[in-house]
C-alpha cells in the first residue's frame, strides 16, 4: 500500500495553545482511493484534515509537528508556499460557501482569478467542472445567476465544482453533507464515487452508512478522557466496520457511544 502512496501523514501532532489535540497520526492515502475519517465530535479528525493542506495554520494558536508527504515531498518544508500546497490539495467545507457576490460561472472560475492563473478555454472549464460535480444539467441555463440562488445541496456541489476547476490532485472534504438533506446527500455521494477513479479523496463524516457506501478505507479517530486524539484503527472500510480489531471501534461503528 505504501508504494503508491499519494498523500502520507507521518507522526502528525497538533496543538492549540498548550493543548495537545492530535498525537502521532500516521495515515497513508493511496492514489485514487476514498478514505473516510470517522470518530466522535472533538476527536481531532477535522483538525487532521486541515493539516493536510495547511488550513489549520489560519487558526491563531495552532502548532504542528510531523510530515505530510504529497508524492513523497513534505508540504511543510520551509521552502513550500502554503498557497501552492492548496492549489494541489483542494478542500470542500461543512457549510456550502459559494462566493455571494459572484455568479455561478464566476464561482467556478474564482480559483483561477484568485491565484491569477489563466485558462485557455474558460467556457469549457466551467462545463467540465460543473459536469464532474454532477450539477451541469441543473445550472447550464442560468450560469450567470447569483450563486446564492441555488439550493443548499446545489451550492455544495458548486463548491465542489469550484475546487475541481483548479484540477487538484487531492480533494479534502470536511463533513460535506452534514448541512444537506438526504436527497442532496445522495447526489454528493454519487459525485464522490464518480470522482474517485481520477482523484484521491479524504472525507470526514459522522455518518457511518455514508463511510461504508463511499470509502475504500477508513480511519477511526478517538480522543479519550482529555487525551490527545489519535488513530485507533485504520484499514479497509469493509474490515473496520465488519471485523474491527479494537473493541472501541466495534462500539463506535455499532452505535454504542459517540
Amino acid at each position: 500500500m505504501t508504494e503508491n502512496a499519494h498523500l502520507q501523514a507521518k507522526d502528525v501532532n497538533v496543538w492549540f495553545g498548550e493543548r495537545h489535540v492530535l498525537r502521532n497520526v500516521n495515515l497513508t492515502f493511496p492514489a485514487n482511493q476514498v478514505t473516510a475519517l470517522i470518530g466522535p465530535s472533538g476527536c481531532g479528525k477535522s483538525t487532521f484534515l486541515r493539516t493536510l493542506n495547511r488550513m489549520h495554520e489560519l487558526i491563531p494558536s495552532a502548532g504542528f509537528a510531523g510530515e505530510v508527504l504529497l508524492d513523497g515531498k513534505d508540504i511543510y518544508e520551509p521552502t513550500m508556499d502554503p498557497t501552492q500546497v492548496r492549489l494541489n490539495i483542494g478542500m470542500v467545507f461543512q457549510k456550502p460557501n459559494p462566493f455571494p457576490t459572484m455568479s455561478i460561472k464566476e464561482n467556478v472560475l474564482s480559483g483561477l482569478r484568485l491565484s491569477k492563473k489563466k485558462s485557455d478555454n474558460a467556457e469549457e472549464l466551467v462545463e467540465t467542472s460543473l459536469r464532474r460535480a454532477s450539477i451541469w444539467n441543473e445550472v447550464k441555463d442560468r450560469l450567470n445567476d447569483p450563486a446564492l440562488s441555488l439550493s443548499g445541496g446545489q451550492q455544495q456541489r458548486l463548491c465542489i465544482a469550484r475546487s475541481l476547476a483548479m484540477n487538484p490532485e487531492v480533494l479534502l472534504m470536511d463533513e460535506p453533507c452534514s448541512a444537506l438533506d438526504p436527497g442532496s446527500t445522495r447526489r454528493v455521494e454519487e459525485t464522490i464515487l464518480e470522482l474517485s477513479p481520477t482523484m484521491t479523496i479524504v472525507i470526514v463524516t459522522h455518518n457511518m452508512q455514508q463511510a461504508q457506501r463511499i470509502s475504500d478505507q477508513t480511519a477511526f479517530f478517538l480522543a479519550e478522557d482529555g487525551n490527545p486524539g489519535r488513530v485507533v484503527e485504520f484499514g479497509e472500510t469493509e474490515a473496520v466496520f465488519n471485523q474491527p480489531i479494537d473493541p472501541r471501534t466495534n462500539d463506535y461503528v455499532n452505535g454504542h457511544f459517540g
Binding site: 488550513m55 498557497t83 482569478r113 491569477k116 445567476d145 447569483p146 441555488l150
Partner: protein, 314 residues
Amino acid sequence: MDPGNLPQLPRPATEPWRNLSLPRRIARNLGHGDWPLLIGSLLLTAFVGALLVSVIWSVLEAGFKAMSWQFISQNNVYITPTTSLDFGGVGHAVLGTVLIVGLATVITVPLGVLVAVYLTETREKPRNTVRTLVQAMSGLPSVVSGLFIYSALIVGLHIHYGGWLGSLALIPLMLPTVTRVAEEALRLVPMELRNGALALGAPAYRAFLQVTMPAAKSGLITALILGIARVIGETAPLLLTVNYANNTVFDMSQPMASLPTYIFQYLGGSYDTALARAWGAALIVLVLVAVLFTAARLVSRGKRARKRKSAAKA
C-alpha cells in the same frame, strides 16, 4: 407526487382581521402586560418626534425665505448683512465645503478602511490598542483638532490659512466613524468565505480584494457616507484653519468659505436679511446630509433587496 399538477387554492375573500380598526388590530397582537409598555413607548416616540419635527420645521420655514437659484449659485462679494436677499448667495460656501470635505474624505476613507483591515484581517497583537486609540479619537472635541493644526502649522510653521489645513483638521474627526463602520462591515463577512478563498490557493491579499471586500461593499460605502456626514457641519476647526472668503475660491492653499462658517458669519448679525442667509445655508446643509443618509440607506437596502430576490428564486 408532482406538486406542479396540484390545483391552486383561492385565497379566502374574507380575512377577518382586515376589517378591524387600527387600535383593535394592535390590541389583537398585544399580551396583558404589554399595554403600559406600548403607551410609554408611544409617548416617548411622540416626544422625540415633536423635537425632530420642530427642528426641521424651523430650518425649513426660515430657510425657504432665502432660497432661490441665485442664493445657491452666487457668492458673497459686496454683500453686507443688510443687502437684499435678491443678491448674493452661498455658492462659494457650497464649493468650499465640497472641496474641503472632499479632500478630507479622499485621505480618510482609504486610511480608515486600512485600519479596519488591520483590525479584522490580521492577528497582530497591538490591534486592540489601535482600536482603543481610534475610538478614543471620537471623543476629541472638534475645536481641539482645529487648534492643533492652528498652533502646529499656522503659528508654529507660519503656513498661511488655507482649505487644505481645514481638511487636515477634519481627518481625526472623520477617522473613528469610518473605521468603526468599516470594521463592522468587514467583521460581518463570514469566516467561511475567507477560508473558501484561501483553500483555493489564493494569497491572503487577493482573497481580501476579490472575496471579502466585495462581500462588504455596501457596508464600506456606508462608512464613506457616514464619515462625510460626520464632518460636513463642523465649524470650529474650519474657522481656526481655513479662515474665510467672500469670493469663489478654487485654490485650496487660500482661505475659502464653507457652509458652516458662512452660517457662523451671518448668525451673529441682528438683521433679518443676515439671519435669513444663515437659515438658508443651514437648510442646504440639512438637505445635503439628508441626501447622504438616504443614499446610505438605499445602498444597504439594495443589497438586502437583491438577497430577497435571490431567496425568492430559490
